[in-house]
Symmetry: C2
Subunit: 112 residues, 2 copies
């Protein structure tokens, strides 16, 4: 049941851990362009508040889990990720109060 499905015999442990490290780097760095976008445009209406509430809670628990098992990799990745997901959440809470999105606003038809 928990036997590796892919043939891990063909990859060294180092190579496998490298895959994990690249995966962790990507899923952490992914939030950077989202943070830049919402803070630059001052618009976050299409962002789901529910997503970022759940995501912040989840990342915080991953950080706690990393601390409990003493994993420097989990602690570092989730510490950085938490900073980024908090930045998106703050943007959402802040910019949704603005009447319009001033920077990236597009001309809208009055007939809608």
């Amino acid at each position: 049941m928990s036997d590796p499905v892919l043939s891990s015999a063909m990859l060294s442990t180092d190579a496998i851990e490298l895959v994990g490290m690249i995966a962790g780097g990507l899923t952490t760095l992914a939030y950077v362009p989202q943070v830049v976008k919402v803070w630059r445009s001052r618009s976050a209406r299409d962002i789901s508040l529910g997503m970022f509430l759940l995501m912040n809670a989840g990342i915080l628990l991953w950080l706690v889990y990393g601390l409990l098992i003493g994993s420097p990799g989990l602690i570092a990745a989730n510490g950085v990720t938490l900073g980024l997901t908090v930045a998106v959440l703050v943007a959402k809470l802040r910019f949704d109060r603005l009447p319009t999105a001033p920077v990236l606003a597009e001309p809208a038809s009055d007939s809608v």
Copy 2:
């Protein structure tokens, strides 16, 4: 260096693994409200394309990593997550071509 920072002696291994499972559940489920939001509103302009390209690549690698180490938990969580992040990416690519966001469009000032 890799000694647990929190006192894991106070928590059983089962309790620690429960924290990890809740964390994994939250960071997977978090995408559900985002998927519902963009497909309902047919608007994804505030969503970062860069975020979801990087996130899909990262989640795919987490899935590969789970297969390589034979972890049913990683495989299940990242399999479900990948389906959800692909759904957001497809919405982004599809709805950004629409001239306006018809459902949630708001009256915009002409004086921008």
